[in-house]
């Protein structure tokens, strides 16, 4: 299983799990320190693995991953810790999966939501949506809006 390989790679096979992808109310501050190449490479490896998981079968970490991805150019130690925090979360949730229930006969359901200027520095809003078919998700995103909403 891919998740297992990722967790193994991060050296956290027996790590404890957390119940949320990121701590409540967490906002990553921009790193003003000069780039640390080793840290960046390590961060990008972890976040890249998480991104693949997110795109494939883990809609639950979409916000957390895209949020941290904004710092991929110059991550801080805290960003790396938060990426590992997502791994902790996934360890606890590794048995969760997308299940398509053909018997449900459920048609297409679409949901969308956004907050309002939640980013404390840029005041940009976050939008997300998902599409559901046969009682299982088939498409999802979470991204920062391009313009500032008034």
């Amino acid at each position: 299983m891919y998740l297992q390989k990722v967790v193994e790679h991060c050296g956290m096979l027996n790590a404890k799990s957390t119940s949320t992808p990121l701590p409540a109310g967490y906002y990553a501050a921009k790193n003003t320190e000069p780039v640390d190449a080793d840290l960046r490479s390590c961060f990008q490896t972890v976040i890249g693995c998480l991104l693949y998981l997110m795109l494939g079968t883990r809609p639950d970490i979409t916000f957390a991953v895209t949020h941290l991805l904004c710092h991929a150019m110059n991550p801080s130690q805290d960003d790396l810790n938060k990426a590992l925090y997502i791994c902790h979360y996934l360890i606890g949730m590794s048995t969760y999966s997308l299940i398509y229930n053909g018997g449900s006969g459920a048609g297409l359901i679409a949901c969308t939501d956004s907050d309002w200027g939640s980013d404390p520095t840029s005041h940009l809003s976050q939008t997300g949506f998902y599409l559901k078919l046969a009682d299982g998700l088939i498409s999802w995103t979470s991204h920062v809006q391009k313009t500032i909403a008034y």
Partner: protein, 176 residues
């Protein structure tokens, strides 16, 4: 890893000149949404799904350009060290290897009466009067075939595996 030992010959793609050694390089693959959508379809219609993995797919791509390559160091033909190799098939590292493989695959699937979708070139469908539809989801070298009829899809899979050396994944529990 799964215990297999891996080493392969790589061409120096960076030395290829655009327009001379290659034109197009984009190679189509299915997006994850489509894969999931097809799985939903299979769930809703109670279809049968079977998977396979094409061995060293990239090496089958037919080239439409004349490409020469230096002999690999340490493996040059004795007394003919000054000669170069003329490539008949694509090699890892070539810019057009992905596209060349897709075209070759598309051609061979056409012989099996599959056609690719215009909007999603990694989805192939087989439709013939009097028999069930078969849909192929192909991501470079990994393929899923689904159909309402197990016998039909197994027959087509057998034909496909006759053309290409494959690893049969049976009823798959993972993809990509």
């Amino acid at each position: 890893m799964d215990g297999r030992k891996k080493a392969h010959l790589v061409a120096k793609g960076f030395s290829q000149v655009e327009g001379l050694d290659f034109d197009q390089v984009f190679s189509p693959v299915v997006c994850f949404e489509t894969v999931r959508l097809m799985l939903v379809l299979a769930a809703l219609e109670n279809w049968y799904i079977t998977g396979l993995d094409i061995r060293s797919a990239y090496l089958y791509g037919k080239l439409d350009k004349e490409i020469y390559m230096e002999q690999p160091e340490g493996f040059a033909v004795p007394r003919q060290e000054r000669k170069v190799l003329h490539l008949w098939h694509a090699l890892y590292g070539l810019k057009q290897a992905g596209l060349a493989w897709w075209r070759t695959l598309d051609e061979s699937l056409k012989e099996l009466r599959f056609e690719h979708l215009k909007s999603e070139a990694g989805i192939f469908f087989y439709k013939k009067k009097g028999t069930n539809i078969v849909i192929g989801i192909i991501y470079v070298d990994e393929a899923l075939f689904c159909s309402p009829n197990k016998a039909v899809v197994d027959a087509i899979k057998a034909q496909f595996m006759h053309k290409w050396e494959c690893r049969d994944l049976g009823e798959p529990n993972e993809f990509l």
